[in-house]
């Protein structure tokens, strides 16, 4: 081990503390083990999304905890306390808006992260478990979004939840139970708010921390997949350790994301609609942008009627989910080059294009509603 040779000078207090801890837990070894991870083929900007997601989650946790100092999760105070945060508490508007835009950034980065893994073929053997846990994490992130925007208790919150829970109700067998379980009754009210609050601030964060830990552990077990091109010799020549080049790229990525979220929070701070009521007045209910494509495709004629609706709201999304779960077990070809996997490439392009198409058409559709 590379113990620094004694220089004869007296160690400073900081050095003494470090040595004290190091003797007991092996700090140096731990740090070396964390940082000296070979990245096959070298560091890349494409690999930054995992670290960025961890960073965004950390910031969401921090801003979330801060918001809870003022927020009151009751039907008669949630709206007023959120308005109080926005208008009266110093920098409340910024923290709340950061939390709001942070959730959008999280969804975008999850999409980027999953796309990178998919396109690089990094879900293939021996990394199937990392992929599966990743899918659970994806579901948790969407759950965060869904439970989060009920909390301000404004019209958007109320109606997005009403429709979202009705969609859940369409699940076979368990649907009715799940919908009532989430709502804590037949219609959204205080019980719904309490439940969503607990799920948003306790259940999901705990699950996310546990699963993200597992995700990282599994990642360390299997090691990074590396690029899909290049002979072993070429890869070896370019290989470096996680620290410093990859960490540097990750940190730059975090800084960029932080700057973007802050800028959005600054220029487009959260503005609440009117307080939630079961009577929307002139408000046209619409979910958050990352659920818009789902919202828009349910408008299609082909998803009309009881069966069509089941198909659109439960059938198709579940089928897609099941396909993603089974992907590493069916796609057993060891070829990872995306340009030699035409089906995968076409699948990704079609899915991404249709999400974009439906999102954009939902936005265009707004103009025709008034």
């Amino acid at each position: 081990m590379n113990d620094t040779p004694s220089s004869g000078a007296q160690p400073t207090v900081a050095e003494k503390v470090f040595t004290f801890v190091d003797e007991r837990v092996g700090l140096k070894l731990l740090a070396a083990k964390m940082l000296n991870e070979a990245v096959p083929g070298g560091s890349r900007w494409a690999y930054v999304f995992g670290s960025i997601l961890l960073f965004i989650f950390g910031m969401q946790a921090l801003t979330g905890v801060l918001l809870m100092f003022y927020y009151v999760p009751t039907a008669d105070h949630a709206y007023a306390s959120t308005q109080f945060i926005l208008h009266d508490v110093d920098y409340g508007w910024f923290l709340l808006s950061y939390h709001f835009w942070g959730s959008s950034a999280m969804v975008l980065c999850v999409f980027a992260h999953m796309s990178q893994v998919f396109l690089w073929g990094a879900y293939k053997k021996p990394r199937e478990l990392i992929w599966l846990v990743g899918l659970l994490l994806f579901a948790i992130v969407m759950g965060f979004g869904f439970t989060g925007y009920l909390l301000p208790w404004d019209q958007r919150a109320y109606w997005a939840t009403t429709v979202g829970v009705e969609i859940m109700d369409k699940m076979p067998v368990l649907g009715d139970f799940m919908a009532r379980f989430l709502k804590g009754g037949a219609t959204p009210g205080q019980m719904t708010l309490s439940r969503f609050f607990v799920i948003h601030v306790m259940v999901l964060p705990a699950s996310l921390i546990a699963l993200a830990g597992l995700h990282l552990f599994l990642f360390r077990c299997a090691g990074p997949a590396g690029p899909f091109r290049g002979t072993p010799t070429e890869l070896k020549a370019k290989t470096d350790y996680f620290f410093p080049r990859q960490i540097w790229k990750d940190v730059v990525g975090m800084a960029v994301v932080f700057a973007c979220i802050s800028a959005m929070a600054f220029w487009e701070p959260v503005v609440l609609l009117e307080e939630a009521t079961p009577d929307p007045g002139d408000y046209h209910p619409e979910p958050e942008w990352y659920f818009l494509f789902m919202f828009q495709h349910l408008r299609l004629k082909m998803f009309s009627g009881e069966f069509g609706q089941f198909l659109g709201s439960i059938g198709l999304p579940s089928a897609l989910g099941i396909m993603l779960v089974l992907l590493p077990f069916f796609d057993r070809d060891s070829e990872r080059n995306i340009f030699k996997r035409p089906l995968a490439l076409i699948g990704w392009v079609v899915l991404t294009a249709s999400i974009l198409l439906f999102t954009v058409s939902a936005i265009i559709n707004r103009d025709f509603l008034d």
């Binding site: 081990m1 039907a75 429709v163 009754g185 037949a186």
Partner: protein, 310 residues
């Protein structure tokens, strides 16, 4: 077989030293080099390509001892130890130590049967703690889920507000709700009233009175087929949004839900969009002076048949 530490190293012209270190390739997980301690003449790094055979405690090289001596000396500072680097699954791939490091099994731990018994006992205790909790926890969480249906009549306004036939008019009203221990609260709701002409009434009732029953099948109310006022629940039967009375370019005056664009005519019939069933009619009575009362019902959205939930 992987070359082991401390193995003698033999060149074409005799023994030159022993294996003092082994160097791994972090990507392929194979041994890439041997470090040979040259009997007091320093260490040399020998690539595995130069190795002819590997036996239990001898490594034979293809080269002569002078060729090996000409190799550059081994540079320790270019390497880190296994403990300082993260290489997945390395322990499974590397078998280069000449023996194992062992720890004695405690005396009391040698009875294998008892270990299995205790493992099972641990699971059993876990179940003993966990299983009895399932039911209370579920009941705890389910407390507010199934409230009984409420068949009170609510006054929502006066028919004087309805000026034109076959046109949807929104009536807003307040309904008191009591959730859990909370004080009674009022929530705003709305229904749509239509004063229907006989053709629309015929479409709705098809010549029959409409009977409303509660969960037990007991009749609650009957809407008479010739009573001209229709009350539609404000909840869209597609996915539960709130619909409005709007002018449509092609279809004329219709009920339109802005969420998923379901369109209904004045009788509640689906004209276009994804809705699976017509708008939900509510029990209605109109007194002689025009006061309207309804029973506030909500039905599950998205199903072909009606399932009442409120």
């Amino acid at each position: 077989m992987q070359p082991q530490l401390k193995s003698k190293v033999r060149c074409t012209d005799g023994e030159v030293g022993e294996v003092s270190k082994v160097i791994m390739d972090p990507l392929s997980h194979d041994v890439s080099h041997l470090v040979v301690s040259m009997n007091g003449e320093g260490e040399r790094q020998v690539p595995m390509g130069a190795v002819l055979t590997v036996a239990n405690d001898v490594v034979e090289l293809r080269s002569s001892s002078s060729e090996i001596l000409r190799l550059p000396p081994f540079m320790r500072e270019d390497y880190v130890t296994l403990h300082e680097v993260e290489i997945p699954g390395l322990e499974r791939h590397i078998h280069v130590t000449p023996g194992e490091v062992l720890v004695p099994f405690p005396e009391l731990e040698r009875n294998v049967k008892r270990r299995i018994f205790f493992a099972k006992l641990t699971y059993a205790t876990g179940l003993f703690i966990g299983l009895p909790l399932v039911f209370p926890v579920m009941k705890f969480l389910m407390k507010p889920m199934y409230a009984s249906l409420d068949n009170r009549w609510l006054k929502i306004g006066n028919t004087g507000k309805v000026k034109t036939d076959d046109v949807g008019v929104q009536f807003q009203y307040k309904r008191t709700v009591k959730e859990a221990y909370l004080p009674e609260a009022e929530i705003e709701k709305n229904v749509w009233l239509v004063k229907a002409t006989s053709s629309v009434l015929e479409k709705v009732y098809q010549g029959k009175d409409m009977e409303f029953r509660d969960a037990t099948g007991r009749a609650v109310w009957t809407n008479k087929k010739d009573m001209p006022y229709l009350a539609f629940s404000g909840k869209c039967p597609h996915l539960g949004c709130a619909f409005k009375w709007r002018k449509h370019k092609v279809l004329g005056q219709v009920f339109l839900c802005p969420c998923h664009l379901s369109i209904y005519d004045a009788s509640g019939k689906v004209l276009d969009g994804p809705a699976p069933r017509p708008l939900d009619l509510l029990p209605i009575q109109v007194s002689a002076n025009g006061d309207v009362q309804i029973i506030d019902m909500e039905f599950k959205a998205g199903t072909k048949s009606q399932t009442r939930i409120v």
